[in-house]
């Protein structure tokens, strides 16, 4: 019985802590939105968005619409299956075919061609025709040709929210230069941004990042800057907590104990309030 109370207390304290951190993240977002450096392009910190799957024209239009000057979108497309897509992108963005040389930093295979948009800087589009099947291999291929030092992988249809790129770059600029290797999202522990040299050091996207990047070189965020990012995992966690609580309530109903019943119902109601508040905070973030 003591163990159950201990678990309940720990669960409540953990959820309250997470909620508190989320509220602080909201305050931080409001403060970061008042910073001018990213909007003025003063930082000069470049970010490459690596799109390894789900490449289509509408998505590229949204990504290229991010109003940050030193941004690049690297899209990996399998020309064997989507040759028409590459042709349409070449026509729309006036891409030129350039030479591709493998660097020694990532193990990349199956590259058929590399295309770059003609804009020299400022929101450039790069399209890589690559045959790789695994998402990690596609990301490695994209990282290999990315021009900037900071890389943001976008898999599973994820996209940055409005203002998210500017906020991430401001977070980088608030630390000493070259001191940040990774930006992670809590509590899902998703890596949002990699520094190129750190990614090379750990061996590419197939690695297990948290086990290799030292804590002082990592920024941890509590608010996701991505749309459709890790929601499935978070929903699963909430479902597990909710299911356990429902089971406890059902059990106490069956055996006629009123203590667990009240505790279970109160916990369910309280978790619902927390969930509603977190959804409300998510609702403040706008998509691109």
């Amino acid at each position: 019985m003591v163990l159950i109370w201990l678990l309940l207390w720990l669960m409540a304290v953990a959820v309250l802590y997470g909620w508190r951190k989320r509220e602080e993240a909201r305050q931080r977002r409001r403060w970061l939105d008042r910073m001018h450096g990213a909007r003025n392009g003063t930082f000069g910190l470049g970010l490459s968005l690596l799109v390894a799957d789900g490449v289509d024209e509408e998505r590229l239009v949204r990504l290229l619409g991010v109003e940050y000057d030193h941004l690049e979108v690297v899209a990996v497309v399998d020309g064997g299956c989507e040759a028409l897509l590459i042709e349409r992108l070449m026509a729309r963005y006036h891409l030129i075919r350039v030479s591709w040389h493998p660097s020694e930093e990532f193990a990349v295979r199956g590259v058929r061609g590399l295309y770059r948009s003609r804009k020299r800087r400022f929101r450039r589009l790069v399209v890589l025709d690559c045959r790789a099947e695994q998402p990690a291999a596609r990301l490695d291929a994209a990282a290999d040709v990315a021009s900037y030092d900071y890389l943001m992988p976008l898999v599973g249809g994820r996209e940055p929210l409005k203002g998210a790129v500017e906020r991430l770059v401001t977070e980088l600029a608030l630390r000493p230069l070259d001191s940040v290797d990774q930006i992670c999202l809590l509590p899902t522990f998703t890596t949002l941004v990699w520094r190129r040299t750190a990614l090379v050091r750990v061996g590419g996207f197939a690695c297990r990042p948290l086990s290799v990047v030292a804590a002082p070189h990592r920024i941890l965020l509590w608010e996701s800057p991505l749309r459709r990012g890790g929601r499935r995992k978070v929903r699963m966690r909430w479902s597990v907590v909710g299911a356990v609580t429902v089971l406890l309530v059902a059990r106490s109903l069956l055996v006629g104990q009123w203590y667990p019943l009240i505790v279970g119902l109160a916990t369910l109601g309280w978790l619902a309030l927390v969930w509603l508040r977190l959804r409300q905070l998510d609702g403040e973030l706008q998509p691109l």
Binding site: M1, R30, R116, V263
Partner: protein, 313 residues
């Protein structure tokens, strides 16, 4: 024991539940008001600009809504950021008429942490308000770095002539974001900023500010100052920043100082620099003396990925 645990747990849920409900209701009400507030802000921006052009103040739509002072402060801050060379007095009068200055001071004093930093940052973005003294000394030493930065910006905004003294007196090296916010403020106040004394200064923060000015305004005549910083071995980070600034200006990368600076880099740092130079468009012939033979081959391969091959048949 069971009862103590039970009642303690229920008190925790009840207390946090009440607080959550208050936040939920406040958030829901704010969500309902937001579309109308956005509309009022857009309309009021036009009314404010029209009033400034005609030099006749007029009442704004946003003054008669909930949270009028906050909305008015945000509106004036955004309009003020878009104006160059205009006297700020009409905007200041508008703020003082609605008591926004006193509201801001109350917000700063009542809040903590990031809320205080946000209120201070908003204060720094507004035109100077002489009725309230930006007595930020206590906040300049706040434990939160965000509050310290915002308080510094308020101080510089009110007394731009003290900007360089305040920057020099910061005990820790300023980050890129902090220096760029200071530069943004100095540009808004149209202070003439001579970059040479900043680059020649012994103070690291002033040197950083000088580098950012050179980068921002693409001052190509700053070569000598940049080379002097590159040659200096006291601060490796500053030397690298000077080198990157030189690359951003597309200046010739010649000289012993640059070669020695590159020799001090690790292999990873050289790779980053190489990529930066290729992106900036330096041809292999322009930088061949900076690299070893192997590095030259690598650099050429990198530059090739930015060029298309023309085949004449």
């Amino acid at each position: 024991m069971n009862e103590w645990c039970f009642w303690g747990y229920m008190m925790l849920l009840a207390g946090s539940g009440v607080w959550l409900t208050v936040k939920l209701v406040a958030g829901w009400m704010q969500q309902r008001r937001r579309p109308r507030q956005q509309l009022l802000l857009q309309r009021s921006a036009g009314e404010l600009v029209q009033g400034l052009l005609e030099e006749s103040p007029r009442p704004l739509s946003v003054e008669h809504t909930v949270h009028a002072q906050q909305l008015l402060a945000e509106l004036v801050a955004s309009v003020h950021a878009s104006l160059y060379g205009c006297a700020p007095a009409p905007l200041t009068r508008k703020l003082e008429q609605r008591g926004v200055d006193r509201w801001l001071v109350r917000q700063v004093k009542r809040s903590r942490g990031l809320k205080r930093a946000w209120a201070l940052k908003l204060w720094g973005d507004l035109p100077p308000m002489p009725r309230v003294e930006p007595a930020c000394e206590e906040w300049l030493f706040d434990p939160s770095p965000e509050v310290r930065l915002s308080a510094l910006l308020v101080r510089i905004s009110a007394y731009p002539q003290d900007a360089l003294r305040l920057v020099a007196s910061c005990d820790k090296p300023m980050t890129l974001c902090e220096v760029s916010e200071v530069l943004h403020l100095l540009r808004r106040r149209l202070l003439p900023i001579a970059y040479q004394p900043l680059l020649e200064s012994r103070n690291r923060n002033l040197q950083r500010l000088g580098l950012l000015i050179v980068h921002e305004f693409s001052i190509e005549e700053a070569d000598e100052g940049l080379l002097r910083l590159i040659a200096s071995t006291e601060d490796a980070e500053l030397s690298m920043a000077a080198l990157y600034t030189l690359c951003a200006l597309h200046r010739p990368l010649r000289g012993k100082a640059i070669r020695q600076c590159i020799e001090r880099l690790t292999a990873a740092e050289r790779g980053v620099l190489m990529r930066h130079m290729a992106r900036e468009g330096y041809a292999p012939a322009q930088v061949k003396r900076l690299w070893s033979e192997r590095q030259r081959v690598r650099y050429e391969a990198l530059v090739e990925t930015y060029k298309t091959t023309l085949v004449w048949s």
